[in-house]
């Protein structure tokens, strides 16, 4: 029983009539147990059981302690609340006790010096009792037996020791608790410092002033994404740093670019395992959160832009954007959770998709840079109508580039074929390609003006409409045909346009009668124009070698000659198309004496007769 006693700083509770009154009891119960609503028979019984099981004296302190013990499972806040209540109660009781003691002494003194005593008396005492009604005299302490006295001393020493032990223990507990806390704080702050050393901007969370946050979003992003680019740095139970993205986060996501053929993916960006720099998990998480928010914004902007590019065959279906690619394929751009990368079954990682993804990201970064530049300009005057957010050009350069590339490739293929056919017929068609994308970039980097940064120059090359030039030298050996290929997705062209310019035309050539430059907006008319030009050039070539022939009529593919002293004439026509070159002749205007000589690339492969056009023509003459 003795070890359960504790040294109380309180005076011994005196039995007071007032304390038995119902009013006092109610307030006391209210203070001890809280509102009556929470005091049920069950929890009272439980309390009593706890009381009985622990061998405690039902003192006031111990009751409090047991109550606290029972409520240990409850939250910390409630603990603090009860502790506060306890302290307040004790203070109140101490005040009451001391004022009562003061009244008692004052009343006792009021017999000797009433004036002094009166000044310290409470109003209540003055009203109820007359002065000097309490007397006192010195009495001899009853002599206790030695044994009894020693017992009492022992008890009091025991009490004191025990209480001191208890105090010491609780201090030690507090010290160890504080030590743990310090350890946790140290880990937390060292991790925060590590984040800061990696140059992540730290700031206060706008809504919670006492919470640190790291900003990983982009300042120039659209406000939805800019505001989301902030995560609270919270301390978890063992002191390590954890990121809190709030409610807006729904897992990290990543932009996926795939090439589909007939709806089936044949290449994807997702199988490349991207390793994010930074060893610490928090840094990694911040980096991936940044990547995620960037890709989400990119996806959002691509979607906005794609809706305005329907005329280019771009389609938005659900979350994905589909762009036509190389006649039978499609590029699909969508946003997928980052963790799905493992489930992707395509193993083929084409450099095309990776390059598309990189270009899209570079273009968004560039758009951010442009938006900072625009924002820093003098602001326009306020108007009633709100200015619309401009569309970024992210898809446009990519589509332009692919469209341009495919057109250049098909022209090149066509010209190569033509070259082969003419080579079989013993004529030369030289093709020179200038202004490929790479050569442009290198040239611009070499001619870089001193104050343009290399990045800006590169980006300008990427965003400005692509342009290529091809120069043909026609079979007559003199005429040059220059084909300028421009691709721009804005009006008026809304696609690729071809400008064909003829140069160095000999005045006697039939080409001289054609307009010097012609513009085409699609491939088929360009093809037939080039074929026509080549045909005319072949005719010119023949005419220059055989003097007695002349052209049948302007713009026609036929030549003729009239033999001296004869009314009949010989006719020859050159027919050039994508597959073959044919020479039709008709001698003396007779249908019986006519024929066709054909050159095609099959003949080249098969090792057939290899006679040149002029050779054949000469023999026919």
């Amino acid at each position: 029983m003795a070890e359960a006693l504790s040294l109380s700083l309180q005076a011994f509770p005196s039995v007071d009539k007032e304390k038995q009154s119902l009013q006092y009891l109610i307030s006391r119960i209210d203070q001890q147990k809280g509102p009556f609503r929470s005091v049920t028979e069950d929890n009272l019984e439980e309390e009593i059981q706890v009381l009985n099981s622990s061998e405690t004296v039902a003192g006031q302190d111990d009751t409090l302690e047991t109550v606290e013990g029972a409520e240990e499972a409850e939250s910390k806040n409630e603990d603090i609340f009860t502790a506060r209540e306890g302290i307040l109660k004790q203070i109140r009781q101490a005040t009451a006790e001391s004022s009562m003691a003061l009244d008692f002494v004052s009343l006792l003194l009021s017999k000797q010096s009433p004036a002094t005593a009166q000044s310290t008396m409470s109003q209540y005492l003055k009203a109820t009792l007359p002065l000097g009604v309490l007397g006192g005299e010195v009495v001899q302490m009853p002599q206790l037996p030695d044994l009894e006295r020693r017992h009492q001393e022992m008890v009091s020493i025991g009490w004191r020791m025990q209480s001191l032990n208890k105090v010491a223990n609780s201090l030690l507990n507090s010290a160890s608790r504080l030590e743990e806390e310090v350890g946790r704080e140290t880990t937390y702050w060292s991790q925060v410092l590590a984040v800061k050393e990696k140059r992540w901007p730290l700031s206060r969370l706008p809504r919670e002033k006492h919470t640190l946050a790291v900003r990983y979003g982009f300042a120039e992003a659209y406000s939805d994404f800019r505001d989301r680019g902030l995560a609270a740095l919270r301390r978890d139970a063992n002191g390590s740093l954890s990121l809190d993205h709030g409610f807006t986060s729904n897992g990290h996501r990543q932009l996926r670019v795939r090439i589909l053929r007939q709806g089936r993916p044949i290449a994807s960006t997702m199988n490349a395992t991207t390793s994010i720099p930074g060893d610490g998990s928090v840094e990694k998480e911040i980096s991936s959160a940044r990547d995620s928010i960037f890709d989400e914004e990119l996806h959002h902007e691509i979607h906005r832009e794609a809706r305005n590019l329907v005329n280019q065959g771009v389609r938005c279906i659900d979350n994905s954007v589909l762009i036509p690619f190389e006649s039978d394929k499609q590029i699909e751009i969508d946003l997928v959770p980052s963790k799905d990368s493992a489930s992707e079954d395509i193993q083929n990682s084409s450099p095309v998709v990776a390059n598309i993804a990189t270009s899209l990201r570079i273009l968004l970064s560039y758009a951010h840079r442009q938006s900072l530049r625009n924002r820093s300009e003098k602001p326009p005057p306020l108007r009633e109508s709100r200015a619309r957010r401009p569309l970024y050009a992210i898809l446009k350069p990519v589509i332009e580039y692919f469209q341009h590339r495919s057109h250049v490739q098909s022209i090149h293929a066509f010209l190569e074929q033509l070259h082969k056919i003419l080579a079989v017929a013993g004529m030369d068609l030289s093709i020179e390609t200038a202004g490929s994308f790479q050569s442009h970039v290198i040239a611009s980097l070499v001619n870089n003006k001193p104050y343009d940064s290399a990045v800006e120059t590169l980006i300008k090359q990427l965003t400005s409409p692509p342009h290529s030039t091809m120069t043909l030298q026609l079979p007559d050996g003199a005429t040059n045909v220059i084909i300028d290929i421009h691709t721009a997705l804005h009006p008026p062209t809304l696609g690729t346009s071809f400008l064909v310019t003829n140069e160095n035309i000999p005045p006697e050539s039939p080409i001289a009668q054609l307009p010097q430059s012609m513009q085409f907006s699609s491939f088929a008319p360009l093809e037939s124009h080039l074929l026509h030009l080549s045909t005319l050039s072949i005719l010119h070539h023949l005419l220059s070698s055989f003097d007695d022939w002349r052209i049948f009529s302007p713009h026609s593919n036929s030549i003729m000659r009239t033999r001296r002293g004869s009314r009949d004439r010989d006719m020859a026509s050159v027919v050039l198309d994508k597959e073959r070159l044919a020479l039709n002749w008709q001698r003396n205007g007779r249908f019986s004496d006519q024929g066709t000589w054909t050159w095609d690339t099959l003949g080249l492969q098969g090792g057939g007769e290899k006679r040149s056009l002029s050779n054949v023509f000469e023999s026919l003459c």
């Binding site: 820093s376 300009e377 602001p379 005057p381 306020l382 104050y451």
Partner: protein, 282 residues
């Protein structure tokens, strides 16, 4: 167009700090500006006091009265402004920008140094009158601010007319305006939403001749401050396309008041003294 304004004053010692804070608020690097202002005064019309003819049709009299009111009404000073910093050769401008990158912990170079570099490049860039004429001049008109009864900010009518070609001086003399004085405005510009923040000091050319001749270069290194204590002025301005549209005006006022709240404790922004901003000819 209308202009809504708030002004604040900063001692020179706090300039760098305020520049840093403003860079943070506006989330952009400060743009250095150096403007040359030429003040023009209208010549009074001597024939405007012609007595009104008695008789005739009432209409004629009315129009004549209106004309008379116009000619006898207030006349305003006007200014020709050109941004000298913009005409700097670009590499130099960028170099000076780099020197003043805020927020990286680098100290700003001292004010005189900045001005020195600007002035030297300025004089180097514009040695002849031709180049002076190729500067982009803006004709500025500012009305007397409205009586500040309804709005907690200064609001006034304004017009900025860019002069795209021709000689601005000839134009002004054709308008019957004479050049009276020259000053320069040197400082930094920020943009925060639709507010244009200007942290500047006014400089006067050092000698009389420079002050009188409008086309001569202002040698900033020798110019002296208008306010010898070196105080800087922070001007927050919102331009509103149509001052009669209440909604746009309220939006502008609210934006300025929001900025005032943000800058509380940094710079106390107040509406300007109406009569101090008077542009009428007395």
């Amino acid at each position: 167009m209308h202009e809504l304004l708030l002004f604040g004053q900063i001692p020179a010692s706090r300039h760098d700090q305020v520049l840093n804070i403003l860079a943070g608020v506006a989330a952009m690097q400060p743009v250095p500006i150096l403007e040359k202002h030429l003040v023009f005064k209208p010549n009074k019309l001597s024939s405007s006091t012609r007595p009104v003819q008695v008789g005739g049709a009432q209409d004629i009299q009315k129009t004549q009265q209106a004309l008379l009111a116009q000619t006898q009404g207030d006349l305003f000073y006007m200014q020709l402004v050109t941004d000298v910093a913009e005409t700097l050769p670009k590499p130099l401008a960028e170099e000076s920008m780099e020197m003043k990158v805020i927020g990286s912990g680098n100290c700003l170079p001292s004010e005189t140094e900045q001005h020195g570099s600007m002035a030297s490049s300025f004089t180097g860039a514009n040695p002849t009158d031709e180049t002076v004429n190729s500067e982009k001049w803006i004709l500025q008109f500012r009305d007397l601010p409205e009586v500040a009864r309804q709005r907690p900010v200064t609001s006034r009518l304004m017009a900025d007319t860019p002069i795209t070609s021709g000689s601005p001086m000839d134009f002004m003399s054709a308008l019957d305006y004479t050049h009276t004085s020259t000053y320069a405005l040197s400082g930094h510009r920020f943009t925060h939403l639709s507010t244009s923040l200007l942290l500047y000091r006014l400089l006067l050319p050092s000698n009389r001749t420079e002050q009188a001749s409008h086309l001569s270069k202002i040698d900033i290194s020798h110019a002296h401050l208008l306010d010898p204590s070196g105080m800087y002025i922070l001007q927050a301005a919102v331009r509103v396309q149509d001052g009669s549209k209440v909604e746009a005006m309220t939006k502008g006022v609210n934006e300025l008041l929001g900025l005032k709240e943000t800058l509380k404790g940094v710079v106390e922004m107040e509406p300007g003294e109406r009569l101090a901003l008077d542009t009428r000819v007395r």
